[in-house]
Amino acid sequence: MSRPELTAPAEYFYDAAEAKKYTASSRVIEIQERLTERALELLNFPRDDVPRFLLDVGCGSGLSGDRLTELGHHWVGVDISRGMLNHAVEREVEGDVFESDIGHGVPFRPGVFDGCVSISAIQWLCNADKSEHDPRKRLKAFFSQTYRCLKRGAKCAFQFYPENARQAEMIASSALRVGFSGGLVVDYPNSTRAKKYFLVLAAGPPDSMPTAKTDEANDYANAKQDVVGRGGGKNKFKHNNNNNSEFGLGVKKKRKGDKHARTIYVGSKSHPEGKGKAWVMKKKKQMRNRGVQVANDSKYTGRKRKERF
C-alpha cells in the first residue's frame, strides 16, 4: 500500500484536485465514517444527550466532522491543507475550520475542548519535510498544546497509520511525556487490512482503558487488549526480579536511572562472611556438569583462609 506521507508534504499533497478526489470516493467516506464512530466510542462520553465541543485534528474536507455532527456533537477542525479546507467550506460542513500546522501546536486557549479526535493525521508529524522540522519537537509541540486546550479529564482518540512499530512507539511515548495517560488500542490486531491503531489518551487521571475489538470470541477476554504503554513494561520488570531472587545466587539489583540497565551483583555486601560451603559445592557441580575441570573436593573446600597477620 502506498503511503502519501512519503510522496509530498500534506499541504502540497492534498491540493484542490486531490481534495475533491478524496472526498468523492465512497470508499474513503465509509472508512472515515467508521473510524470516526469508533474514535467517538473510545472517547466514551456519558449518554446524557449533551452535545460535546470537540477538536478534530486534521479535519481535511470534514468527512469525519460530518459524522461528528450526525452524532450530535459540535466540532472545530484544524488542517494544514488549504485545498481540503476550501473543499470543506464548499461542502458547507457544520464545524468551524482553521488552517494551522499541528506540528506548531494548536491555537486555542486552555481547557476549552471536551475531547479530541483525529482520523489518519498524526503520522504526518513524523515527517521532516523542511530542514527546520524535527519530528520529536513537532510531536512535543502538538501533544503539549493539545493537552493544554483540553478540559481536565478529557479524552483524545487519535487514529493513525504508523509506518512501523518504532514510529508508533515514538508517537505514544511523546504523548505520555507531556502528561497524557493512556496508550495504544489496536483494533483487529491479527488482520492486515482491518488493523487500526488508536492512540487513546486522557488529559488528567484516566478512568479506564477501552477494550479493543478482535475477531476472536469473547472468551479470550484477557487477550483482548493490545496496550503499549508504560505500565506493561514495569510489570514485566517486577516479574523478572522475583525470579532472580528466588534463585539462590545472591540478590540481583538494577540500578535506578542507569542508561544501560546493567545487572550488578551485590553478593559481597549482603554476605560479608562469604557464600558458604554449600554454594561453592553447588557451583563446582554445575561447572563439572558443563565439562569444565575443577579442583577435587576436600575438607578444605569452601573454607576461609587464615588471617596472616
Binding site: P51, F53, D66, L85, G95, E99, S100
Partner: protein, 167 residues
Amino acid sequence: MSLSFGVFLRTQKVTKRLVKTTNIRGVLQRCAYTYTSKMRLLAHNMLACNVKGVVNGYPLTIHATKIETNESEFNGNFIVHMLGKLDWGAFLKACKEVNASEDLPEEIPSRDAFGTEEEQYEMFLRKVHHALLEVTVVEGHLECPESGRKFPIENTIPNMLLNEDEV
C-alpha cells in the same frame, strides 16, 4: 421521512454538484442540517495566538471586511453547556467587532435570575445562539492583542499558520 425524495431535494435546494460528488446517503445527511460556513464567534472565543513568546494572545481582535449571517439549528442544551466555557468578556467584545451585539448583559445571568420565566431564558439563549453560531466572518483578519501579529481570514477560513521563527 414523510417527504418524497424529490420534494425533499427541492425544498433543501440541493445543487447538482452535491448530488454528483456525494452518494445519496451523504446528500440526505447534508439535507438534515442547515447550511452554514465558518469562523463564527464560538470558535473565535476559543482561539488564541500561539506565537512563541506571546503570553497573553487572547482574545484576538476581529477586523472583518465581509460578514454573513446564516441560519443554524438552535440547541438550548448545547448553548447552556457552552456558557460554562465561554469567556463572556471576549464574547461581548467580539460581538461589538462584528456588530452582532443585541443588548446582551454585561455578565452571564444565572438560570435562577429568570425564575419561572422559561420563555425569557430561551430568548436569552437564542440571542447568544445567534451571535455565537449564526454570524460568520467571511473576509478580514484577526489581530493578536499582544504582538500585533495578523492572521488573515479568506473564504471564512482563518490562516493560523506560523513561520518557523514563531514556533
